[in-house]
């Protein structure tokens, strides 16, 4: 394959500034250790995104493995045209989108009685805090807030909004990078993120003011619970 000068220049640029690009180029040269290292570097970041998108830890792990597999399979055609994370999360976006479309194929039932689908039984910490009546101290806030934010995200954002938000918050991507990752225009990302943050703000506002979520969100959590066997 003949590459144009500008592509080669761009590629060299990213190779010089991004250590993950260099690692991926080692994978391209069939360096097994580099692939393992890449997996280690990205697995937690990827799992976080996947877990929020599909709300299920097991499924998130399956999808993450699929992403790494695709990364490996694409190694020969890899050309560093962006930061590695942008390319990597483009693949993740494709995998997640396909999976969410096919989700009904999964045949698992979660017996765990918590409000989020995938956290099993509440931790002792959580239970003790529930029992000790829920005062807003630093520690309690931490646990409570975490659950509230997860629930607000789950109930107020669609998948695209969630992904854009997670990439912006945790991957520190610019609008341009998110646009490349999600194959949208910068303007679309701007609008997507505005809506995502507006919705989230709306969902969390009652909590900030009163320590409680609005009735509509509470109801939706409760119906989540009731749907469980």
């Amino acid at each position: 394959m003949q590459l144009s000068d500008s592509v080669i220049k761009k590629s060299k640029h990213y190779e010089s500034i991004d250590p993950d690009v260099r690692l991926m180029l080692q994978v391209q040269s069939d360096d097994a250790g580099a692939f393992e290292e890449l997996t280690r570097r990205y697995q937690n970041r990827l799992l976080r995104v996947m877990e929020h998108l599909v709300s299920n830890r097991d499924m998130a792990e399956d999808l993450a493995q699929e992403v790494f597999l695709r990364v490996f399979r694409s190694r020969k055609s890899y050309i560093p045209g962006a930061k590695f994370s942008t390319w990597f999360f483009t693949i993740a976006n494709n995998v997640a989108s396909n999976a969410l479309r096919n989700r009904s194929r999964r045949k698992e039932i979660n017996l765990a009685p918590t409000q989020s689908e995938d956290h099993g039984v509440p931790s002792l910490e959580t239970m003790a805090k529930e029992a000790s009546a829920l005062m807003p101290t630093r520690q309690l806030d931490q646990v409570e807030l975490s659950e509230v934010v997860q629930s607000a995200m789950k109930n107020s954002l669609n998948e695209r909004q969630k992904l854009a938000l997670l990439l912006s918050k945790f991957e520190h991507m610019s609008y341009q990078e998110i646009a490349e990752t999600m194959d949208l225009t910068v303007q679309a990302i701007k609008s997507l993120l505005s809506r995502a943050r507006g919705n989230l703000k709306q969902a969390l506002e009652p909590y900030f003011q009163t320590g409680q979520l609005s009735d509509s969100y509470r109801e939706s959590f409760e119906s989540d619970d009731q749907q469980k066997p």
């Binding site: 697995q43 399956d62 099993g120 039984v121 918050k169 809506r195």
Partner: protein, 480 residues
């Protein structure tokens, strides 16, 4: 954008402003508006706050096995590619490297994989039958079911009969551990599935799990048989769903403890008899409790504030109980009706609350997870301002967060403080005639001590079987 979303977003440019994604002139315009409008500044602050709270989302950590199984999966797929590809030389080299990396198991597995793959087209009954066992292997192993089926079941039954074993009903002021409890779910018994209904990817994952299962069983097929028997008994048990919940809980508890107890200690607990495991749980929970309690008790409030704090605490317990009961009212099933009756018949509000918390633990009512966010910071701040100058002095100089920590400890201590009126109420409503009779002949201080002990014990279990309350066994729980 629908109407709702428009309403949520009064000033869409503020998000881009916060993200540093505005052009210079747009940024200047936003800053001009910010300088002029308090409402605009407020909107910005709310958006910023929303952004900041995303930091509260838990960090996700891949398990130890994840990296390895990912690399293995890629190795498998690479073999697949290698067979299909005509330009396979370099891929082969990569495969060999990857395979070398994960030897010893991969070579043996590859053989098994290909031979099993041949069988995929036909239903493989044993694999299907073992599927839920394979998927739940770590859970079943957490009670050493592979070694002793009966002890495993007995242990879960014991836990089920003593829900208070795990229920650290007291304070928790520990620093956040940062430990993520592993998520785990049971899979259904897939009687209606056939292997054809799995995608290739799902099938490969399943085969990896099965390999793990086979490797675990190793040369001891009785382990596999034990797991199958355990699975059958667990699923046919009359309290099956409770036992499964407890198993998940136990597994999480073990892993949580494992972070600081170490593997040997965890293995020792796992290998103990069912009864000894219960003793161990109690011991460890009590140690935790004592440590947390000593930390929480830093300093008491001024004596004149104690009634105020106790009143507030009692009000909160009742508020919370009412909220839970309100949720129960919206549910019509027999279990919740029965639970409501139990709460209504509880001798004191403490005992009613304890029943609700146990029920919450055992998932007997819906929506329980949402009831506990009933306090706001404003409420606590208002409460602090109502305290005497003497109490306020005790927390003066602390940050607001720390002030609230201390005041919270006062409130929660008060919440579980048993006073004479509680004891009297419990004596009248919570003890049987025989039990009340058993107190006669004791001195008043002995009577009080016995009732206190019965009170605490009744928070966690039914004490009607004990006729003599002066001779109750020690619970090993409760505030000393």
């Amino acid at each position: 954008m629908n109407k709702q979303e428009k309403d949520n977003l009064n000033h869409p440019e503020l998000v881009a402003y916060l993200d540093g994604e505005l052009e210079r002139n747009q940024r200047a315009e936003v800053e001009r508006k910010l300088a002029e409008s308090p409402e605009y500044r407020n909107e910005l602050a709310n958006l910023q706050r929303t952004w900041d709270v995303l930091d509260a989302l838990p960090a996700t950590r891949a398990s130890q096995e994840f990296t390895q199984s990912t690399v293995e999966l890629v190795a498998l797929k690479t073999r697949n590619l290698e067979n299909q590809s005509t330009s396979g030389a370099r891929i082969l080299r990569m495969s060999v490297l990857v395979i070398l990396l994960i030897i010893p198991p991969i070579a043996a597995f590859s053989y098994g994989y290909w031979s099993k793959k041949e069988a995929l087209t036909a239903p493989n009954r044993q694999l299907l039958k073992d599927l839920p066992i394979i998927e739940n292997l770590s859970l079943y192993r957490s009670v050493s079911a592979e070694l002793d089926v009966d002890q495993g079941i007995r242990f879960l039954e014991l836990l089920n009969s003593k829900p208070s074993v795990f229920l650290n009903f007291e304070l928790d002021f520990s620093e956040p551990t940062g430990v993520n409890l592993p998520s785990k779910s049971f899979t259904t018994n897939p009687t209606s599935l056939t292997l054809d209904s799995f995608s290739q990817e799902e099938m490969e994952r399943l085969l990896l799990s099965q390999r793990e299962f086979d490797r675990f069983a190793g040369s001891q097929p009785e382990k596999t048989d034990n797991l199958r028997r355990f699975h059958k008994i667990l699923n046919e048990h009359p309290d099956s769903s409770q036992l499964k919940n407890l198993l998940i809980y136990w597994n999480s508890w073990l892993k949580n403890k494992g972070y600081y107890l170490g593997r040997d200690e965890i293995d020792r607990i796992k290998d103990a008899t069912a009864e000894d495991r219960i003793v161990e749980i109690r011991r460890l929970e009590k140690e935790d409790f004592v440590e947390k309690w000593s930390r929480a008790r830093g300093g008491p409030p001024a004596p004149q504030d104690v009634p105020l704090i106790k009143g507030f605490a009692k009000e909160k317990i009742e508020e919370l109980s009412l909220e839970i009961i309100r949720q129960l009212d919206s549910s019509n099933n027999e279990q919740t009706k029965k639970l409501k009756e139990e709460v209504e018949n509880a001798p004191t509000h403490h005992h009613g609350f304890a029943i609700l918390m146990r029920a919450r633990f055992r998932s007997r009512f819906p929506g329980g997870a949402t009831v506990w966010s009933t306090f706001g910071s404003n409420e606590i701040e208002a409460f602090i301002s109502a305290l005497s100058a003497e109490s306020k002095n005790k927390i003066a100089g602390l940050t607001m967060d720390l002030q609230m920590d201390v005041v919270q400890s006062w409130i929660v201590i008060a919440m579980f403080e048993i006073d004479d009126s509680d004891l009297q109420e419990f004596h009248d409503k919570g003890l049987t005639g025989n039990q009340r009779d058993s107190l006669k002949g004791l001195s008043s201080s002995e009577q009080k001590k016995a009732v206190q002990q019965a009170f605490r014990m009744a928070l966690f279990q039914d004490i009607s079987e004990f006729d003599d309350v002066s001779k109750l066994p020690s619970t090993g729980r409760g505030r000393q």
